[in-house]
Each structure stands twice: as C-alpha cells, then as structure tokens.
Amino acid sequence: MAFDGPTIAETLRRQGISRRGFLKFCATTASLMALPPSMVPAIAAALEQARRPSVIWLSFQECTGCTESLTRSHTPSIEGLILEQISLDYHHTLQAASGEAAEAAREAAMRENHGKYLLVVDGSIPLGNPGYSTIAGVSNLDMLKETAAGAAAVIAVGSCAAYGGLPAALPNPTGAVPVSAIIKDKPVMNVPGCPPIPVVITGVLAHFLTFAALPELDDHGRPKVFYGESIHDRCYRRPFYDQGKFAETFDDEGARKGWCLFKLGCKGPVTYNACATTKWNQGVSFPIQSGHGCIGCSEPGFWDMGPLYKPLSMPIAPVQMMVGAAAAGGAIAGAAMALRNRAAKQSAQAAHQKVTVADLEKAK
C-alpha cells in the first residue's frame, strides 16, 4: 500500500515517542489484534513501513449501533492512536460536513487514493426498491458499487453488512442483502456482531494498517484471530459444562454460583466471536459473565435461528400438536387397513370352495 506521507513509526517518533514507547505500542497492538506476543517484532517491522491509509465509511440500512460501538472505544487509548493513524475521509454520521460537501470529500478521497483506500460498510443493502434507502439521492446499491470500485478491500462491519442482519430477517421486507452478495471482485471481510466488539473493529483496522492486507478469514469471511473459536470453547464457565453443572433458571443457586447457561438457551457452542476473552467496556464483562446466555449475534441469520431461551438441543417449535395429529392419522390409516384386510379375508372365505376326495377323483 504505497500511501504518501510519513510512516507510522516516523509519525510516532515525531510525536516524541521513544523506541520503548513504540515497542509498548506494538505490544498493545498485538494484544488488540489478538495476535500472540511473539508477533511483536513482526508488528514493529511492519509499522516501520506502514503509512496512513485513507478510509471511507458508508452506512446503509443500519441502526448506527456499529458506529456507536466504534466511538465508544474512542477514549484516548490505543484505539484512539490507531484512529489517528488512519485518515477517516468520509463517514456521514461522524463528519461535520453534509450534503454536497460531504459527497465531495468522498469523491476526492476516492480519486486521490484510487485502488488503495479501505472501504468500511455498516448496514445492509435493499434490493427491493432503490428508494428504500438513499444517501444524497444516491441509492445504497449504486453508492456501494461506485465506492467499492476503487477500494483495495472492503470491510463489512456488523451483522447487517456481513449477513443482512435485522433488515434481512424474515420476511425481509426491503430485500436486504449483505455486502458480499454485491461485491464479488474485491476482498471482502466480515466483522459481524450486533454490534461488533469495539476493539475488534479497531483491531481489524489496525491489522490492515499494520500489514496493509486483510487477516486470514474463515468460511464466513470473518477474521480467524477474532472469530476462530466458539464462545463456548473460550468461556470461563466451560468447566461447569464439562462437570454437568447448569443454571436451571436465571435466579437459582446455579445462576448465582456462575454455572453454565446452556440450559437457559446460551448459543455459545455455535457462536464464533471474541467476547469471552476480549470482553466489553475495557474488558469489564461480557453477556455470560453478566448472567445471560450468548444470543449468537455474530452468526449468519441469527434473528431467525429459533428462540433465544431454548437450549440448543431442544426443538425450536412445539411438536406435540403435529405429532398428535400424525398419530391420530396413523390410527385412522391403520383402522382403514384393518377394515381392508378384514374384507379381503372375508371375501377369501366367501370364495372358498370346499373340495372333497370325490371331486378330486372326478377331476382325474
């Protein structure tokens, strides 16, 4: 990524940060990117070369929760440092300019950094009718195609951009689709979650900034460093699952003792995200630690994946009525078969002709 201007190491140096401070920055960045501490020298070497990339952020059918999540991480912190190192050239929710001035900024950033800028998208794209969601009179679909054309890579932030999310939940009234359904000729990375963990958003931005490339992705296009393991496998309550100790209700003794929430519908075993280790609000807690099961918000189509409070091994819909009806149907069909068999027997009996020895003699 050949952006102009000083490298990140040079920028930090100009700010009077020592090599020791730089190494601390690299160590905390490694932790942020969920990379092992042994990667620190590689990160240091990469940051020596890395230059400030231009970022364009587009918001489509979304609730601004993802941007809220990102800005909540934006206390003066490592994330702040990261964001100072990127050039956020367009984000219509955050930027001061609006209307034509804002669009001019987007077009200028696209022109100046053609083929090099990073495109971040939150929200899904309605295909039902272009008028469902527009920005400055441009439909989401057109703006995405136009902006993605010159991007080096696209990051779909949040479950809406990654999978369609809430707008795409049944019956999907706007015909919402994720970014990956439209952009096929660029690397697209999904950073799902409702919202994604703030430091995961900044972590993937840091990864692009550091290595000028997207990290390794899983089958759903998610970065493996953050989405490589299930919540269940990284949960601090996992030992209780293995011991068979479960909370039965939200206020029983098991719940107070912090036992496993599987029976209360926790989706941890089928959900891949970093919540269990990265946690939320500067590492304070995450849903399971707060006593509520995981709802699986970073998995495709989680809105339509059955009740939140039913265990994963349980049926989604009540089956008793249907099974009862089927059993009654079986009984009726069985009775019908019985009548048919009886009729067949009777007709066989009626058609039965007795044969005597004399008859046989005659037949000879």
Partner: protein, 219 residues
C-alpha cells in the same frame, strides 16, 4: 446453507416431520398388526400355563444355553450394543432434557463419563457385529439391503453424537446438526423397517410365549 441454518432446520421443521412420520407409522403398523388377529385356536390347551407369555418376555431376553459358544460375537455384541445404546439414549442429560421439553417427563441422568463409556462400547459392538455379518458366510447370505440400512441408521446417531460431544473432527455446530438429522432419519425409518422391533419386540415375545404355552412348551 450454513451449519447453523442446517441445525435450525434440524431442530425445527426436520424434527417435526420426523416425529410425525414416526408417530404415524407406529400407530399404522400397530393397528394393522393387532387387527389381523389369529384364527381361533379350537384345540384344547395342553397344559394350563397362565403367565407363559410374560415369562417368555423375560426368558427370551436372557441368552439361551450354548449360544455363547455357537455365536459369541452375536451374543456379546448384541448385549453390549443394546445396553450401551439404551444407556446413551435414556441417561445422557441433554437427551433427558429433550424428553422433558417434549413431554414434561424427566428422570436423573448418569455422569457424562459413564455415558461416554456406554456410547463407545455400543459403537465398537456395532462394528463387531457388522464385521461378523460380513465375514460369516451364513450371515452374509441371510443379509439384505434392509439389514445394512438398519445398521447404518443406528450407527450414524452414535457416531455423530460422539463427535459432537467430544468436539472431534468437525465443527460442533455441524456435528450437532448431523447428529439430530441422523436421529431424524432413524425415526423416519423406524416404523417401516426391521427397526420396528423396538416397538414390537415384547409384543411378539408375549404372543410366542402364550401360544407355545398352550401347545405345552413350558417357558
């Protein structure tokens, strides 16, 4: 279709269809079997033998003398499989949870380590009886497609359940989905194959015992 969507289908429409087919089939066959009836036995009973049917249910569940020597694999494999399968099916806590969710009935489960041993024993026993079926010329001659199908349909839930429980080889979500789907296949096939013996075994044993009792064969 993602793994989670597959699991959702298996837990939702898939389960409803499988249970409905199974319930329909069982009722259909029971009605048919019972309504066929038997010709009235006009001969006088040889010996007064009340409870002969009930005793046969027990006695036929015990190994007859000599079988251990004649068919050790069938004998040991059969017992180990049926016991292991029953323990896994009825005493694994998530299975009890499922029954409780469907019917409200529940009973205490066994520790997962015990269930684990039972499941492994059942899997090994199934492999052993299949090997014996294939290597023994008489058994091979007697076996039809339905026998191998029944074996496969029984084996798959055990295998996928084991993989899911131990997080082996495949992703847990997929393993759980495949486990539930394999059980659904078993449920659908159960009323219409030899697997129906899970329902009819004690009925036919009682009948055999009773009829032989009348004919003077003590049970």
């Amino acid at each position: 279709m993602s793994n989670l969507e597959l699991l959702t289908w298996a837990r939702g429409p898939g389960l409803s269809i499988a249970l409905a087919v199974c319930a329909f089939g069982i009722l259909l066959r029971l009605f048919e079997i019972f309504s066929l009836g038997r010709k009235a036995d006009l001969s006088k009973a040889r010996e007064h033998s009340p409870g002969s049917g009930w005793r046969t249910i027990v006695s036929r569940s015990l190994p007859p003398p000599g079988l251990m020597k004649r068919a050790p694999v069938t004998y040991i494999g059969g017992y180990v499989f049926h016991l292991g399968f029953a323990i896994t099916l009825f005493f694994f806590v998530p299975h009890i949870e499922l029954v409780r969710g469907l019917t409200g009935l529940s009973w205490p489960g066994l520790p997962t380590q015990v269930v684990d041993i039972a499941a492994v024993a059942a899997i090994l026993a199934l492999i052993a009886v299949l090997a014996s079926r294939l290597s023994n010329p008489v058994k091979r001659l007697l076996s039809g497609v339905q026998d191998y199908l029944a074996w496969l349909l029984t084996f798959l839930p055990l295998l996928t359940g084991y993989l899911a429980f131990h997080h082996l080889l495949i992703d847990y979500t997929l393993a759980l989905a495949l486990h539930i789907l394999s059980v659904e296949l078993l449920l659908v096939a159960l009323p219409f194959t030899k697997l129906f013996h899970t329902v009819s075994v004690f009925i036919s044993r009682w009948y055999n015992g009773d009829i032989f009792g009348r004919k003077g064969v003590a049970s």
